[in-house]
Amino acid sequence: MRVHLTLLIALIPLALYGQEQPLVFRGARLYPISQPPIERGVLVVQHGKIVAVGPEGEVTIPAQATVYDVTGKVIMPGLVDTHSHIGRVEGGDRSAPMHPAVRTLDAIDVRHSSVQRARAGGITTVNVMSGSGHLLSGQTVYLKLRKGNTIEDLLYCKDPLTEVCGGLKMANGTNPQGDPPFPGTRAKAAALVRQQFLKAVAYRRKIEQAKGDPEKMPERDLDMEALLEVLDGRRIVHFHTHRHDDILTVLRLKREFGFRVVLHHVSEAWKVADEIAAAGVPCSIIILDAPGGKLEAAEIRMENGAVLEKAGVDVAIHTDDLITDSRWFLRSAALAVRAGMSPEKALEALTLAGARMLDLADRIGSLESGKDADFIILSGDPFSIYTHVEQTWVEGQKVFDRADPEDRKYAVGGAGVFEDGDTFVHEAH
């Protein structure tokens, strides 16, 4: 009797979770990403996790499961957007070119229409960051697009005071340039960054020398603490960079300080793909309808994905919302395929590759048993213009359903649907 009671109590949180009953999606073409596509597949999810994935006939359908027949549809993992400005995000102000202490999680509106717009595009995980008008505009945050009311509902981490909840946004090239204290040249920008990191190295030394003695510990310094996480490899640097020489500058800084870095945008990656590959650094690229808008992006190519893939670089694609709209994130990958990227790598670039670049590949990015039940149901081929995202699921909960008129309007727009004020400043890119 007592055993039963314990069991009952243990089950309560799961019931509150709302998805005690297993859900089964059968008949769809599955793109697990971690393995080749499955023509008529079965996906089983329960308690927010994927329980089983496989061809029909090889997967046991649990008793009492709710079964959805999704024959003719396509299911793939929820999309991972490694670079976005949804939620009216803000970072550091104009008082300084570097703000390691600034957390974007303190300034994101998760109820803003742009967040639902991202769900309508099939995005389930997003790296929200501030703009590139600074050498270092602040800490990025990794969000799971659960239906939630507060930023806490969407965080990956449990406690921002003790855990690393995102990366660090940095930038070089022309965007962070300006009047002092902002750098006026590229060399000055690199010098400012190096000086800042040298300070962090010294701070770390003081901590090491204290050997745990609170008397000898340096004063707490929020900027230094964030940079320490970077130096220790626990916080990944997301580095906005376009021109080929700026890309090489990032690689030089990485060599000097040993931090982990993802190159973002990388317009001229096609010129230095071998150097990027040799450095073992992943790239999160943007696909644009045309080059230009500024000198640094004048030589961007749709072929970047294909060139980097060939060079052996790990490639993710991002929206940079609202530079490109979260609603057509799949389109970016399709255009990369148009320009020569393999369909397999292009799908991976929307999912598992991005998960790796956010240190989240153990939880998301592929349809594998044990991973979070984040997936999207498409009406057809992921690379077809005629395909729509029909449903977006996060941890076993449906967060977007095109068949629901209230949700559908976020996919197509209309009067009063979107709130203005989506972040779209010149520094955003």
């Binding site: 045309a290 808008g293 395929v337 213009i385 203005d420 989506d422």
Partner: protein, 401 residues
């Protein structure tokens, strides 16, 4: 003998730039009747010579044969700033808007078009052969627009029509560039006053006593041509108040109106239809912000259902990317309810009609300019490539991209 045959070959090579062409495709969208399966388009001296099914069209000897899955007429970007707004986006290459005065109808597009601008080649490689480009939105009257082909090294070589429209803008966008107008109503008042001035100018022009005729005035002369119905006034109006103001102005002054942008057109379809006004619709994928915050992906479909003539535009982009591609914008409309034939029409013959050049471009019919796009699949699919672009019989792009 050998030398003669060599010279003959050489001669063929030299003339191949304007060689006679035969383009064969699984589907030829002529835009003048139903698509032709397994069709052939013959091109002679830069013009369409003949179009028909392969069984009935004999390809004459010496014609260079090109193959494609789908052939369409050259695409028309019905409103762009490409060639005036350069790729770098620095002051020195941005000539689509002069902010010294909110009303400048005298500014000619031909005086600011850079035919060698890289974005001209960029849109051409995605099938755009005709550009309606010129002064952009942002001023009450920003200047004139023109029609060019996406070829030639000078504006003269590219030119189709040096004055296509006079470009006006209503709404908050103007307030970003000028201290006055600072409100919607003020902009309309300024436009009315200017058109009244032009009416007075026209009256004086017709004075029997030459001494009473006015001094030459470039701006007034341009607006007189608008009042006379010779040049349309293209008014960029995104939201309902602006759209209605544009229709009101048209009723008051009787000019030929082209509604541009029209993000909220779906809210006033009856009014637009009743006014008999064509629409050059905002890019389908326009960002939902500012005056286009209420834009929908389905507006093209709504205009089509309402029977309102419309075309697609790349519009004006202030940042990255520096232009859009009308092929992609039309594709997104097709994915959101617009029938594919209607989309192809809007990209070709319908755009040509709205811009007054349907006698030259917009369909594959004998006697028209030989502007063609060759695709290796469904033109609207992301993964289909444009494998050939022909302008006035000259292949200007022959690799798949």
């Amino acid at each position: 003998m050998k030398i003669w045959s060599f010279l003959l070959t050489l001669g063929l090579l030299v003339s191949s730039a304007r060689a006679q062409l035969a383009v064969r495709a699984d589907t030829v969208y002529t835009m003048a009747g139903a698509p032709i399966e397994n069709g052939v388009v013959l091109v002679r001296d830069g013009k369409i010579e003949q179009v028909g099914p392969a069984q009935t069209v004999r390809i004459p000897e010496g014609y260079r044969v090109l193959e494609a899955v789908v052939v369409t007429p050259g695409l028309i970007d019905a409103h762009s700033v490409v060639g005036l707004a350069g790729i770098l986006n620095y002051d020195h290459d941005q000539d689509q808007l002069d902010t010294s005065d909110p009303i400048q109808p005298e500014l000619r597009a031909i005086d600011a078009y850079n035919a060698r601008e890289r974005l001209v080649e960029w849109v051409r490689n995605f099938g755009v052969t005709t550009l309606h480009t010129g002064h952009g939105p942002g001023a009450v009257i920003s200047g004139q627009t023109m029609l060019v082909k996406t070829r030639g090294e000078t504006v003269e070589e590219a030119l189709v029509d040096s004055v296509a429209t006079v470009a006006a803008t209503l709404g908050p966008m103007v307030e970003r560039y000028f201290r006055s107008p600072g409100t919607r109503a003020k902009a309309v008042a300024m436009l009315r006053a200017e058109l009244l001035k032009a009416q007075a100018y026209r009256r004086k022009l017709r004075a029997s006593d030459p001494a009473r005729r006015p001094e030459p005035d470039l701006g007034m002369e341009t607006l007189v041509r608008v009042l006379d119905g010779e040049i349309p006034l293209m008014i960029t109006a995104q939201q309902v108040p602006e759209i209605m103001a544009a229709l009101r102005l048209q009723r008051e002054f009787g000019f030929r109106l082209i509604l541009d942008g029209a993000a909220e057109a779906y809210l006033v379809l009856d009014e637009i239809k009743q006014a008999g006004v064509p629409v050059i619709l905002h890019p389908t994928m326009v960002r939902p912000r500012g005056e286009t915050v209420n834009a929908t992906l389905e507006t093209a479909a709504r205009l089509h259902e309402a029977g309102i003539p419309f075309a697609f535009q790349s519009g004006f982009e202030s940042y990255v990317p520096k232009t859009r591609v009308v092929l992609f914008e039309a594709a997104m409309a097709v994915a959101n309810g617009l029938p594919r034939t209607a989309a192809l029409e809007a990209l070709t013959i319908q755009a040509a009609r709205i811009l007054g050049i349907a006698d030259r471009v917009g369909s594959l019919e004998p006697g028209k300019d030989a502007d063609l796009v060759l695709f290796d699949g469904d033109p609207f699919e992301y993964t289909t490539h444009v494998c050939g672009v022909i302008i006035e019989g000259e292949p200007v792009h022959e690799t798949c991209r």
